[in-house]
Amino acid sequence: MKQIEGQVAIVAGGGGGVGEGIALRMGREGATVIVVDADGAGAEKVAAAVRAAGGKASAVRGDMAAAGVARKIADDAATAHGGIDILVNAQFPTTAWSRLEDKDITDFNTTLTGTVVAAASAMKAVFPHLKSRGAGRIVNVGSMYGPTANEAVSDAIAADGALANLSRAVGVEWARHNILVNYLQGAMPDIPAFQEYRSEKGGIIDHLISNTPMQRLADPVEDIGGAAMFLVSDEARFIVGHKVYADGGQHLTAAVFEPGASR
């Protein structure tokens, strides 16, 4: 049985990676998916994949952090589909890896704007639509580097913490409207970027997997998409401002990402 049949979901950052997995899963579970990504081709590809699997999806090229963009995307989606039920913020720009002493300070602007400002803008944009429905679910997707002390990604880890706290803060504010905001982190995804890293630093990844409780990579659709379904379905209807790790327990293990490290 489909879990979110007939609902309308905006998946920002859905054009690739973890967001792609969540968008594909929501399409499979019966939602009309609006795939938003600054990478328009990526958004088109994922929307086409949802449709090819028998689902409903459209693509929008856009940056939720840019002025007016989120509002227009939300209003257009609500007009076209009669409302909005779900927002997923999975956009997460990446910058070059380096420790803070060498990091370009503008990388922080890129990362924090592309994650926290984008998520907050998208949340503000969908709020009136969710409120008028009398219910809504928002999932803010954090960084896979968030829970443990990986090096050379301080901007991503800072943004991850900010997304978790944004989810808690707005979760408390909007729970009275039955709009539930939570944070989801999907670690060790079996996605191209991660596979590429593994091909370069296979020993590190093998070490990470062997130290992780469930000892395997995450399937973006089944594992991370499954956790997203937990958060947007009737199952999590009393969970507010919470962190959920779809990581096979990796948040309990030591970090292994270090620049220049090799095994």
Partner: protein, 282 residues
């Protein structure tokens, strides 16, 4: 009421303390989602309400089995899990909901026996049922374990030191089991509920003004319904959606964890009116 979707079709679950409050909610919800459910209480008379409610769920009666058992007794906890395997052929899920409660007393006055009873009926029972289920889950290729904690240890709720250390132990057990048994595709998570449980209802009767104030501080402005809200989250962690979630403590509480409303109990209060005070065996 949430719509049943057959999310646990073919699964076999064990629930401790399944005749009232949150445990009862889990039993009923799991039966509605297609699971076979073996559940216990110390007192067979406690099962009367469940018998009536289960009879109203089409096809559920033959999938439900009540066992009279004391969660403070190791032999009986292994027996509970083994009964599930004998009767239904497997065990996929164990929900360790039960907890014996001692009267609220200051640390300087709390008898050693209260600590022993609370640990036995909370921590040890969770350990024993999990140990009993482990070989079966390993052989089957996976399983789901759910333990229970509480907001109280987070905040150091006064006069409940025995309870607080027990629940903290359950959180540690959750992370240990996630690590040790993760390689066998067994997940283990812990629930901190804010449900309209039996204990909360008693507390509310005793302290209506305080409860009204507490509920105003809950971001969702209400307590959770045992079957719909609390059991819903447990269902999610035990269904396919929760397949890669392990080693976590979940506040299923409408956001209460972010607001920290400590209950204002007086020392010596028995919010369970004697009903939950399991005797320690041996």
């Amino acid at each position: 009421m949430a719509k049943a979707q057959g999310r646990l079709n073919g699964k076999v679950a064990v629930v401790t303390g399944g005749t009232q409050g949150i445990g009862q909610g889990v039993v009923l919800r799991f039966l509605k989602e297609g699971a076979s459910v073996v559940y216990c209480s110390r007192n067979a008379a406690n099962n009367a309400e469940n018998e009536k409610l289960i009879a109203e769920i089409p096809g559920a009666a033959e999938r439900a089995l009540f066992v009279q058992a004391d969660v403070g007794n190791k032999e009986q906890m292994f027996g509970l899990v083994n009964t599930a395997v004998d009767r239904f052929g497997r065990v996929d899920i164990v929900v360790n909901n039960a907890q014996g409660i001692a009267p609220l007393l200051p640390i300087e006055d709390k008898p050693d026996g209260d600590y022993a009873m609370t640990l036995a009926t909370g921590f040890y029972h969770s350990l024993w049922t999990s140990q009993a289920a482990f070989p079966h889950m390993k052989a089957q290729g996976g399983g789901r374990l759910i333990h229970f904690s509480s907001h109280w240890p987070l905040w150091g709720q006064p006069y409940a030191s025995d309870y607080n250390i027990t629940k903290t132990a359950n959180e540690g057990l959750t992370r240990s089991m996630a690590h040790e048994w993760g390689p066998y595709n067994i997940t283990c998570n812990c629930i901190i509920p804010a449900g309209d449980s039996y204990a909360y209802k008693v507390y509310k009767t005793m302290n209506p003004d305080s409860c009204a104030e507490t509920e105003r501080t809950v971001p969702m402005r209400r307590m959770g319904d045992c079957e719909v809200d609390i059991a819903g989250a447990i269902l999610g962690l035990c269904s396919d959606n929760g397949r890669f979630i392990t080693g976590q403590v979940f506040c299923v509480d409408g956001g209460t964890w972010a607001a920290a409303p400590v209950q204002q109990h007086n020392a010596g209060t028995d919010i369970h009116e004697g009903r939950h005070q399991a005797a320690v065996e041996a």
